[in-house]
């Protein structure tokens, strides 16, 4: 464990050095994600200028859910971004063999190799939106609610991470699976708004198939007092564990298929 921790720090330092030499790209990337998530807030603001509430949700409640959604998404983006690269070119270019040669878990190497500060764009937008919404709603979270909220965010990070791992691992069979990841991520966009506005079928998908509703709607609504606190946050944690397990399973199967093809 200690070895992995030391290795991770080494990897991160190495990666930050690389980022320093592409400073402009770093700022553009950060700015683009900041603006992109900001556009969502602008959309909500413009829409609410002509309606008092969105099917029972006030402006600040919608803002809270939207902001909450950005936090696990941003954290996932910061720490698990190399999975996009796996789906894009690591398998296709034959670079994956490198990970198999070293005496460290390939999944660990893959995750540790990249630290993506672009994700701070989402994280920052999310924190600001949640803060503004809490002030607007005159809501202060009790310490247990805060703790459960943080655990739910962790659950959300692992929902994103697990789904991403599963879809990126498709590359072991198809060489390129970024298109799968892209489509899965667009499904996550639905989770940034109260899921009560969707039809039954869509709600089912967001809850049981690609359970992105647990990255935002359920825990956020729980913190707002619209769902049971333990249900909303607890389900996010369970969904996080389930998605990670599923993602890891697909990864293992993919590894086996990959090795089979290579040797």
């Amino acid at each position: 464990m200690g070895r992995y921790r030391r290795l991770y720090v080494r990897y991160m330092a190495q990666h930050l050095k690389g980022l320093m030499s592409y400073r402009v790209d770093f700022w553009f990337g950060l700015l683009s994600f900041l603006l992109n998530q900001g556009l969502g807030i602008l959309f909500i603001g413009l829409v609410f200028s002509s309606i008092p509430s969105l099917q029972g949700w006030s402006f600040f409640e919608v803002l809270f859910i939207y902001g909450f959604a950005q936090i696990p998404r941003g954290l996932d983006h910061i720490f698990f971004d190399n999975l996009w690269i796996l789906a894009w070119r690591i398998v296709a270019k034959g670079d994956f063999d490198r990970y198999l040669l070293r005496p460290v878990s390939p999944l660990f190497q893959l995750i540790a190799e990249r630290f993506q500060p672009d994700g701070f764009g989402e994280l920052l937008t999310g924190l600001v939106a949640v803060g503004v919404a809490l002030v607007g709603l005159h809501l202060s979270l009790s310490p247990p609610a805060l703790l459960l909220g943080l655990l739910a965010i962790l659950g959300g990070v692992f929902i994103y991470g697990g789904v991403k791992l599963a879809f990126a691992s498709i590359a072991f069979w198809t060489k390129f699976s970024q298109s799968w990841l892209f489509a899965a991520y667009r499904v996550a966009d639905f989770a940034m708004y109260p899921i009560t506005i969707y039809g039954k079928g869509l709600r089912f998908v967001l809850t049981f198939v690609l359970p992105f509703a647990f990255t935002a709607y359920f825990p956020a609504a729980a913190l707002l007092g619209k769902e049971g606190l333990l249900f909303g946050t607890g389900s996010a944690i369970i969904a996080g564990a389930a998605c990670s397990a599923a993602g890891y399973l697909v990864w293992r199967l993919g590894l086996r298929a990959y090795e089979g093809a290579g040797n």
Partner: protein, 271 residues
Amino acid sequence: MSLLRRYRLFTRNALSRLLTYRANVLLFIFGNILQTVVLFYLWRAVFRSSSSAALKGFSFPEMVVYLIASTATIQLTRSGADEVIADEIRDGAIAMNLVRPIDYRLRVLFDSFGTSLYNFAFVGLPAIAAIALLLGLWKGEPAMPVLHIPEFLLSLALAFALNFSYLFCFGLVAFVTTNMWGMSRLEMVVASLFSGSLIPLVFFPGWLRELSTFLPWASMGYTPVMALLGKLQGASLIGALGIEAAWALFFIWLSGWAWDRLVRRLAVNGG
């Protein structure tokens, strides 16, 4: 005619490239359509929550047609010329294309035709079918949109010319920067806001609305769709088409000028 025959190959190339990676391309398109579906549900909730039947002049059926037509227009006109150029600059393939006896701009243009044809088949036709189906469903409703097809087609053609030359210029930026990834993400965000693909520009507050209709991005997506819905008529239609044509001419000129300058510089560097 012989020109068409010569460059037609590039269109066919683009088409066969897209067809080879069929599953991937369709998944990317599917992802983009999902964004439109999110917007559909948001607007449905908004209209259900509103006490008036129209918001900023849009009825719900009009808004749905707006969303579908806007998605299709962007897919048809944003043909990825920038990516083609940036990729060739990055991997050096552009050098080969410079020594060939072909006009590089025409080559990329015919490549773009291929992408647009493909998108017409997989996004354009389904969009037309969806709108036709919805119009049938809404028959007799008072807020039924009336479509202005000739105006739309004219504006769409201008939008294609504008978008192509704009993206050509943007792709050339790869000659001077290695930060294309960040730049193109930023460009996408700005374009999605000001082309009205996120929200019709009439929803912007006063000054921003005025300003945004003069920016080139409005001409790329917003103008054709508003023309289709008949929200631009008479003087306002002529004005909007005029702005669109002016931007198209400007970017056609800019793309030629920038290309000549960059190629000259490239030749000097090469010795």
